[in-house]
């Protein structure tokens, strides 16, 4: 296992399209729900324990080698908002491109062949982690970390927030991020016995609603 491979996958500079997405924080900023460091931390914590936990579970299960197509369906079932489903598949396509150049695998090619319009991003992330020799909990870490890291980075641009404050938010969420990743990997370990229903399905209805609204905006900085 290469520890550096995990750092590469979790790095916001990994060219997989994430930089153009705010993880819902642009809509939250527009509603003034996020307007300073404290409200950003609350938003990131909420996203970590909902979207973050759910995507981390899917990534961990994919990294463990469970049926990627089944997991892709499970991701659909856990993503009720059509706009966010489309975003997840688009990011999955973009991550597939990056994974082909960095950690190519036959498993990823099979998934891409069955999902030409893109598989869900957390599933692709899990397969990529597996190809990189990483463990399920590593994949869960990358997904959980990104669920808070994405909005934090976007908030720096949207609110001209002090980047040191945004980094402090992520540092403070570190232990919780670890716990979410562990819980997700534990759930993924139960998939063999219990099926994909064992995976977390935490959702955030407000993120779903505002995500759908954001997709209809004509003027916006981020694609989601």
């Amino acid at each position: 296992m290469s520890r550096a491979a995990l750092l590469l996958l979790a790095d916001g500079r990994f060219p997989a399209g994430g930089h153009a997405h705010s993880g819902g924080v642009e809509a939250a900023v527009a509603r003034r729900a996020v307007h300073d460091t404290a409200s950003l931390e609350a938003f990131c914590r909420g996203r970590l324990h909902t979207t973050g936990l759910t995507t981390a579970g899917l990534s961990a299960a994919a990294a463990a080698g469970h049926d990627a197509l089944l997991l892709d369906d499970a991701a659909d079932a856990r993503t009720p908002a059509p706009a966010l489903r489309a975003v997840s598949r688009r990011l999955g396509r973009q991550m597939t491109r990056a994974a082909r150049a960095t950690f190519p695998s036959a498993a990823l090619e099979r998934l891409a062949a069955h999902r030409p319009q893109g598989a869900h991003q957390p599933v692709v992330l899990g397969l990529t982690a597996r190809a990189a020799g990483l463990t399920p909990v590593d994949a869960a870490h990358a997904a959980a970390y990104e669920s808070a890291g994405g909005p934090a980075t976007a908030a720096v641009r949207l609110l001209s927030l002090d980047p040191l404050d945004a980094s402090r938010v992520l540092a403070r969420l570190g232990v919780e991020t670890d716990r979410v990743a562990t819980a997700a990997a534990d759930a993924a370990a139960r998939v063999a016995a219990e099926g994909v229903d064992a995976l977390p399905s935490a959702s955030s209805p407000l993120l779903d609603i505002t995500g759908e609204q954001h997709a209809a905006w004509t003027v916006r900085l981020f694609a989601s």
């Binding site: 296992m1 500079r13 060219p15 997989a16 399209g17 994430g18 930089h19 153009a20 997405h21 705010s22 990294a63 688009r90 396509r93 973009q94 491109r97 990056a98 082909r100 150049a101 950690f103 190519p104 695998s105 036959a106 498993a107 090619e109 597996r130 190809a131 990189a132 020799g133 990483l134 463990t135 976007a154 641009r157 949207l158 004509t218 003027v219 916006r220 900085l221 981020f222 694609a223």
Partner: protein
């Protein structure tokens, strides 16, 4: 878990010159430069000049609106299905240089739906003098500046000015009004760029884009000649 050795050296270069079906893909030309220098107007003029001879499509990278794409639609320089807008997450240079995945998707989508295309123009969002396109995204790039933003811009240099395959200095019609010294701009550009070409344009005059269109056509001819080898 281990690396999948069935695909040890498989690599998919972003800008492979051929499509998956083996046909040579369209030439990709990037147009970058500061806000307001005339990138969209240049794209519109290129479309009007070249659209009857070549199968064209355009990708725009607006910073926070779809205004550039809508301008092109309003001006009816191309049918709507030939124009795609990419969103850049407040970072136009990232989308054309550091993480080109959304732009590549847009280009490939146009190539698939409008096959066969000869030429794809990719317009960056207005940015600064350091913004250049990745070679993984475009084959050649044009950097567009204008005389009214200060005639010292070529002297200041930066990657856009010094390395673009073509430097366009636009709005020469405004030079007398803003006191811009075109000769000094040309001399500075030569100093910064060596043998790389510079074209001065005024898009308010009839056929003001002609020289730039010829430059693009020249590259397109070369691109096709390589395909024929």
């Amino acid at each position: 878990m281990h690396l999948d050795h069935s695909l040890p050296h498989q690599h998919f270069p972003s800008a492979s010159a051929t499509r998956p079906d083996g046909h040579r893909r369209a030439l990709r030309v990037g147009l970058g430069g500061p806000v307001g220098s005339g990138k969209t107007a240049s794209v519109a003029a290129l479309c009007r000049t070249l659209r009857d001879r070549y199968a064209l499509a355009v990708v725009t990278n607006d910073i926070y609106t779809r205004e550039d794409a809508e301008y092109l639609l309003r001006e009816a320089v191309l049918p709507p299905e030939r124009i795609a807008a990419v969103e850049t997450g407040a970072c136009p240079h990232t989308a054309i240089r550091d993480d080109i995945s959304a732009n590549l998707e847009a280009v490939e989508h146009l190539e698939e739906t409008l096959h066969p295309l000869d030429l794809v123009l990719i317009e960056s969002g207005g940015d600064n003098l350091t913004a250049t396109f990745s070679k993984g995204l475009v084959d050649v790039q044009i950097f567009v500046i204008d005389v009214s933003s200060g005639d010292d811009i070529p002297r200041k240099g930066g990657p856009g000015i010094t390395t673009a395959d073509l430097l366009v200095v636009n709005k020469t019609d405004l030079a007398p009004h803003v006191g811009a010294d075109l000769a000094a701009m040309a001399a500075d550009a030569r100093r910064q760029r060596g043998d790389l070409p510079v074209i001065f344009t005024s898009l308010t005059s009839d056929d003001g884009i002609r020289e730039v269109a010829d430059w693009v056509t020249g590259h397109l001819t070369e691109w096709r000649a390589e395909a024929a080898v």
